[in-house]
Amino acid sequence: MAAELAEHAHPEHDREVFERTIFGFWMYLMSDCVLFGTLFATYAVLQDSLAGGPSGKELFNLPYALLETLILLTSSFTSGLAMLSAHKKNLLRTILYFAITFILGASFLTLEINEFSHMVQEGNSWQRSAFLSSYFTLVSTHGLHITVGLLWMTVMMAQVLVRGFLPETLKRLTCLCLFWHFLDIVWIFIFTFVYLMGVT
């Protein structure tokens, strides 16, 4: 409690910490961007290394990928709504919108896992060819980020419920939403470079 009291006594200090954290989180996102960039580059190099295995054209189901895309984009929108409600300190709406975001994110993940398991069952696993290795790695790295995001969202919903809207909590919610939007943008690139360009 003492720590919380100290916090409210120093609004200037809070503001500095907030700015610093958001700035630092942007730095992290940019470094994550380089990580995805590396995976995109390896995918670009290896996408024609089929080793006699199937190509993207034979494997990808475009409407299915479009469905995943729409679900993820909608979740980005609802996370934005959640953030707006959080700024208005509206507990009920914040939780509601985050719950919707969570369900959409979880559905996206389920669809992705389903897609993967079908490929593996048909004998086209990551061991089949260099192309499939890079495909699975790129897409599932995004999926892993989504998983972490969902875990984070659960923790944050609990924090909002238990502790209310402390400056601390708002700071973390802002980071979470930045993270979520960032994953959306990465997915747009995956959808374009892997699915759309892979099928044509």
């Binding site: 700035f23 380089v34 060819s129």
Partner: protein, 658 residues
């Protein structure tokens, strides 16, 4: 049982006589340290004041301790290599088997770059950055503690490989397909991968942390162009860290996926592309070289200016040179493998880009020399390291330009000429820079100077030892000796190899003298004037506070109106601050960094040995710890104005003792 311990079984603990003796030495040393701490009843103090500390100055000291231990290990590796090569000619096999020799040179490179070089840079950053920019702390104090402990546990993991299993035998960059599962089925490469993954995450977190510190926490009035040049050099290194380390993380992850899940990124079969690994690893690796050397440039810039009692010549051109080098370091990676067959045009482009780096570097060298011109030069130890650096770095730089010409590189590639070149840069540039910085800033953090006379002796030992150990390698390289040989047939090479080996005792004596320097300095601490704060008639803000600085660094955050703010105050151009103390908020110590890193260590170990259940268990615990930590909220304590006044009047040291 098989599933319970993964690949780990009794054979992992069986080693040859040399490895066992190393193990015994390490075990005995650890026991002595543990006994010493227990005997003096210092565990609680160690835990409360150091292990859980979030103070960058203390974290810096802990970095330095790990660095010194790892330097000892790295030098021992070097001793074994030089001794082996001084004898292993013709029918003599030498005392190391080929397999062991390969592990030794792989461990030497890994240790020196990741744990000595990087560690020393982070130690210096922790010491100097907040003080020089007039800040009380880094941007994210807890993250800083976590970074340190991740660094420490990855260093521990290297050492564990000597007891449990083996280390990588594939060189410090582990090129596939050799490092793939087909040709390296043991756990050595896995150790290498996870050691680097953990220390890589540590570097990235520190990189972000200090970048935000520099960009967001400078004292009022310190514009970018008023930052000390050391801060600019660190800024360049940090940008490189944030952009380059994710590439390393991704590349190592791909290699691990190849090895564990049977993927085909870098295999020879199923469409994999080993050359892509070499491109990726150097896309990180070349910037890495500059991450190490840029801070050394910064250290020397501070030193040459302070010990010439003049302001730095050509500050603006120095900043531009640093930034241009930062940029160029991203477009030269291919010069590490001209022989790979990328084609004449590609090689020409990268050759020209490499030659271009000599231009801003030359600008820096001339700026340093012009700073000395007509200055009141004090030839103290930091300055001796600087002068040796100018000599070795310039010759090493010129052989570098030679290597950047693709046709010449085709001849010299992978020869000892290359080894001599990059050791000139890394020892003459980075390590000498670190030593210079250490003797320069040491009084700031301890309140006493390193012994000057022993410092000179240590310097001369290092300098002579370096020349003996590495100049012959240039000649050997031109004579055709390649790197990573454990044995050779050409008898004409042996005299040169013996001269190189003769350099090693000099270097070892140098290291011993450096350690004595600390002891003698400590003994004479009472007679020293360093406690006053300004040991060298310094120019920048760190010299304006007491030595060692209080936990909050500055009782009153200074206002900066000029480039060398403390010098300006001393010259009377600026008035010292009016002293009215206020409450200061500092983060409270926490052990979370220690525990989280501890579980990261266990996760690494579990993955290396394929003990999956244990790895998952540790991952779950680690995540739980992170969640608990975020639940706690801001954990800060207040140092009241009254206490600040007390500390400022008595000096921090005496205040602590009373």
């Amino acid at each position: 049982m098989n599933d319970l311990f993964g690949k780990l079984d009794i054979r992992a603990f069986q080693h040859d006589a040399i490895e066992n003796s190393v193990g015994v030495v390490i075990a005995l040393t650890s026991l002595i340290i543990i006994g010493f701490v227990t005997y003096h009843g210092r565990w609680k103090w160690l835990w409360k004041e150091w292990i859980t500390s979030l103070d960058p100055k203390r974290i810096g000291v802990m970095y330095l301790i790990v660095v010194l231990l790892m330097l000892f290990k790295g030098v021992m590796d070097a001793v074994m290599m030089r001794a082996q090569l001084a004898m292993a000619v013709g029918d003599t096999a030498g005392f190391l088997g080929a397999a062991h020799f390969q592990q030794v040179f792989s461990a030497h490179g890994t240790t020196m770059i990741f744990f000595v070089g990087m560690g020393a840079i982070f130690a210096t950053m922790n010491f100097v950055v907040p003080l020089q920019i007039g800040a009380r702390d880094v941007a994210f104090p807890f993250l800083n503690s976590l970074s340190f402990w991740l660094f420490a546990v990855s260093a521990a993991l290297v050492n564990v490989s000597m007891f449990v299993g083996e280390f990588s035998a594939t060189g410090w960059l582990a090129y596939p397909p050799l490092s793939g599962i087909e040709y390296s089925p043991g756990v050595g490469v896995d150790y290498w991968i996870w050691v680097l993954q953990i220390s890589g995450v540590s570097s990235l977190l520190s990189g972000i942390n200090f970048l935000v510190t520099i960009l967001k926490m400078r004292a009022p009035g310190m514009t970018l162009m008023r930052m000390p040049i050391f801060i600019w050099s660190i800024f360049g290194a940090l940008v490189l860290i944030v952009v380059a380390f994710p590439i390393l993380t991704a590349t190592l992850a791909l290699l691990a996926l190849d090895r564990v899940l049977g993927m085909h990124f870098f295999t020879s079969a199923a469409g994999g592309n080993p050359m892509m690994y070499i491109n990726l690893i150097w896309a990180w690796g070349h910037p890495e070289v500059y991450i190490l050397v840029l801070p050394a440039f910064g250290i020397f810039s501070e030193i040459v200016s302070t010990f010439s009692q003049k302001k730095l010549f050509g500050y603006t051109s120095m900043v531009w040179a640093l930034m241009i080098i930062t940029f160029l370091s991203f477009v030269v990676w291919l010069h590490h493998f001209f022989t790979m067959g990328a084609g004449a045009n590609v090689n020409a482009f990268f050759g020209i880009m490499t030659v271009l780096i000599a231009v801003p570097t030359g600008v820096k060298v001339f700026n340093w020399l012009f700073t000395m011109r007509q200055g009141k030069i004090h030839l103290s130890t930091p300055m001796l390291w600087f002068l040796a650096f100018i000599f070795i770095f310039s010759t090493g730089g010129m052989t570098g330009v030679l290597l950047s010409i693709p046709p010449a590189d085709f001849q010299l590639h992978n020869s000892l000429f290359l080894i001599a070149h990059f050791h000139s840069m890394v020892i003459g540039g980075v390590l000498f820079g670190i030593f210079a910085g250490l003797s320069y800033w040491f009084p700031k953090f301890t309140g006493f100077k390193l012994d000057e006379r022993l410092g000179r002796y240590a310097f001369w030992c290092w300098f002579i030892g370096f020349l003996l150990a590495f100049m012959p390698l240039y000649a050997l390289g031109l004579m055709g000796a390649t790197r990573r040989l454990d044995h050779y047939e050409v008898h004409a090479w042996q005299p040169l190899y013996m001269i190189a080996a003769a350099g090693v005792p000099f270097i070892i004596v140098g290291i011993i003298l450096q350690n004595l320097q600390i002891l003698v300095g400590y003994k004479n601490r009472k007679t020293d004037s360093a406690i006053m704060g300004d040991s060298w008639n310094g120019r920048t803000l760190e010299w304006s506070t007491s030595s060692p600085p209080p936990p909050y660094n500055f009782a009153i955050i200074p206002h900066v109106g000029e480039r060398d703010p403390f010098w300006a105050v001393k010259e009377g151009n600026e008035k010292p601050e009016h002293r009215k103390y206020e409450d200061i908020m500092m983060p409270r110590n926490t052990s979370f960094g220690f525990w989280i890193a501890g579980f990261a260590f266990l996760i690494g170990f579990a993955i290396i040995w394929h003990i999956w259940w244990f790895g998952l268990l540790c991952l779950a615990t680690l995540l739980t710890l992170v969640i608990i930590r975020t639940w706690g909220g801001m954990d800060e304590e207040v140092i009241t104005a009254e206490e600040v006044k007390n500390i400022e009047e008595k000096g921090f040291n005496r205040w602590q003792q009373s």
